[in-house]
Symmetry: C2
Subunit: 466 residues, 2 copies
């Protein structure tokens, strides 16, 4: 790949194309846009551009394509795979100014939004109409829906409501040559040619830039209940997860948390919560629906299943504040882990019932390579976030031995029918593991698809596949 | 495109590659595989091949690719867009012998199946374990799941459970050069590179041949109830559809049927059912769940909504036989329409609340071009099957004027935010309308994607895009 640096002549032309008020070259801004939430990586862009509309994105991409200038699209910078890092410099294309909810279509249960809308803002606006957009990553309070689409982001409610993929109906995208198209239709069903909408979801800004999104909404359930169940062993908690579904229950969230994660949440968030000595893991279970009696009965049934797997205590959250408190322990866990130690997070996912095998394997691999890990995540989906803790590990081991251990974890996940990432994406940091999951034939298909959309390779270079 | 005819030398080589017991050249077989359920179209293949396993598909495709022999994959031949018609001759590749349910994975709520499994067979096997595969096209008793995946097939329960797209986790596919890959992972979440699984769904056998399918199953609801509501106007029935969802209800099916369709079902199926004089349309509503009292209360609430839109009568089906009878009227409608007259079926889909506008538009266009239509379909999804009835229309008008009318119907659907096909696919017969929905930029992207997978164009040539 050969790219040009952004010259002062380029910069003048860019200003005339997208307006100087949208172009930033000061060091503070460049620094701010050099990283995301992925560990402590930093790659400086040469320019940060914040377009205001599709037309500006179009002329900008066309210009960069003609001038071989790399463009790295960026949402809110909450990514955990380094997807928005401008590793080849060039332009960091921040979508933050394109943050309008264009239309909340109550008649059709749809929202038309720009990519810079914060996910929780959309959820709250929908809730005012008694509608639900159920895809809520932990970062929902700050992440953009555009980034969610680009990375195929998930969250706890996938287990009942399906993935983001099931809620994105149509996308306006800008191709690197400046062409603007809609990928599909604003319909619940679609059998009209190759599904470009679905191809864009999870393409991590490597094919085109998303400029509008049509989202499916559903009626909002009126009630929910939350339970926190404690277990004397992490494996039995994991075993209980698939048993819940086999018993015919479909909770709206089923989250797994290891003891250490809970300890750190309690410590760093200053929460009053007693972690009993023998407890090794927790499951957070949410049920939702329109009939409170039925939900209580669901909780009882789920409780019975859990007690069959060594669960020794269940806390029930009924009031809003009780439920918030229970959820907070899960939602704040990523930040508490971060506060505790240098760490590295992996996003393994396996078929649900293989979770206990995965968890045990991770611990065994850790013992072999000398690292500790704290695991939590969307157990109902088989999606386990593995937080590898640096703690007392030497810099050298962290740099040289750890990658071997992570490689083994990925091999295990793939062997169990799973994959490298459930919802964080490949981005920069999972790229070295792609050949564990994919044969050269598959990788070559992906490279060729990339080439169809972006023949000069200017969009988010250095990500996902190489 | 340049293709070779299948010579006797080719045939001998094919026999050695896939076994002579799997190769058919007799006229009866060729005739049988020359058509599907799409009106009265017929294109003779030169050879019918019924492979028994992936390896045979692989060597066969490699051979055909090297020898420029077109291959048209075929499921059960129940398609409604001509997708399985071998318009360039060559080989009709029937997947009927690859019909094993490889594994019903109760622990993970997944099924691993071959493409030739009949959809209803999978549903019934899953039901024995109290599991649900909810994607049930009208042809579920005969269609293959492989064909369902290839065409992105739907059915009535999409409205609650989502499309087929939400239930397909992973695919084994064979590329035209014989390479075999898995497209994804057996996981509920997936953010690991371009989603080749989703790209394959609805690709209509033009990219690769599907040889194994991993399907997501869900706990089967224990109860359901069915209502048949009658309306004095088709528009008010359509208006009621989106009102049901706006009232916070999510039925497991919400089907629309025009009076004439009902008359023909009664006539051709010999059903005892009184169609009152003033009734112009019906809605069939199904609710399902695990609590019968709640379902009864849901039916009441839905009833209240319907009565607000001129509904004058609701029949409730509680017993299995009552429910079957009500469903049969909807399920047999396609066959009854077929029995009544030469017809042509379109598969328009629009955002749900635009249904009344679409329906009125179709009637107006019919009046302009002199054709009658009977509409029914998955109203809850905005998916309307438009059956244009030949009746007394002259051959000349049928041939020359009708396509102009259909063109206008498609234009209207697209203008309303919809698309050409919701679940039947583009295949052969919707191809002329692709440029109504798609710009040349989009079409060129699709052609280039085709070229990535199938550079010599041997797979299902003449379909979807040209």
């Amino acid at each position: 790949m050969y790219f040009n640096k952004v010259s002062s002549a380029h910069l003048e032309q860019l200003k005339s194309l997208v307006g100087s008020q949208n172009i930033f070259v000061d060091q503070v801004t460049l620094q701010n846009y050099s990283h995301d939430e992925t560990e402590n990586l930093s790659y400086l862009p040469e320019v940060v551009i914040k377009p205001e509309n599709t037309q500006q994105v179009s002329v900008l991409l066309k210009f960069c394509n003609e001038n071989n200038i790399p463009v790295t699209p960026r949402g809110a910078g909450t990514g955990l795979s380094g997807g928005s890092l401008p590793v080849y410099g060039g332009i960091s294309l921040s979508m933050e100014k394109m943050n309008k909810i264009i239309k909340l279509d109550e008649r059709n249960l749809q929202a038309h939004v720009e990519p810079g809308v914060i996910t929780e803002v959309l959820m709250e606006e929908a809730a005012k109409l008694n509608l639900l957009y159920p895809v809520d990553p932990s970062s929902k309070g700050s992440c953009f829906i555009g980034g969610n689409v680009a990375h195929g982001s998930g969250g706890p409610r996938v287990v009942k409501y399906g993935t983001l993929r099931d809620y994105i109906l149509n996308l306006e995208i800008v191709l690197p040559n400046g062409d603007v198209i809609w990928t599909g239709a604003n319909t619940l069903k679609y059998a009209s040619g190759y599904n470009l909408t679905q191809l864009m979801i999870g393409s991590e800004g490597t094919l085109a830039v998303i400029t509008k999104i049509v989202v499916k909404l559903i009626p909002k359930p009126q009630y929910n209940l939350v339970m926190l169940a404690s277990f004397p062993s992490a494996e039995s908690a994991c075993e209980a997860v698939s048993a819940v579904f086999r018993a015919g229950m479909t909770p709206s969230a089923l989250e797994f948390m290891e003891r250490a994660g809970m300890e750190w949440v309690v410590k760093y968030e200053g929460i009053k919560f007693e972690i009993k000595d023998h407890v090794k893991a927790y499951l957070l279970v949410e049920v939702d629906g329109n009939n409170l009696d039925l939900l209580r009965s669901d909780c009882e049934k789920i409780g019975e299943v859990l007690f069959g797997y060594e669960c020794d205590d269940i806390l029930l959250g009924e009031s809003a504040s009780e439920k918030d408190e229970l959820w907070m322990m899960r939602r704040k866990m990523p930040l508490s882990v971060k506060a505790n130690s240098v760490y590295k997070e992996e996003d393994t996912v396996v078929p649900r019932a293989e979770l206990p095998v995965l968890l045990k394997g991770i611990k065994d691999i850790g013992a072999k390579y000398g690292f500790k890990s704290v695991c939590y995540g969307h157990a109902g989906d088989g999606n386990l976030h593995v937080n590898i803790i640096k703690d007392s590990m030497s810099e050298e081991d962290w740099k040289n031995k750890l990658p071997l251990g992570i490689h083994e974890i990925m091999e295990l996940a793939v062997k169990l029918g799973g994959t490298l990432s459930g919802e964080h994406g490949i981005g920069l940091i999972q790229q070295p593991f792609m050949n564990i999951k994919f044969s050269e034939v598959s990788l070559q298909l992906m490279r060729s698809i990339k080439n169809v959309f972006d023949p000069k390779g200017i969009l988010n270079p250095g990500k996902m596949i190489n």
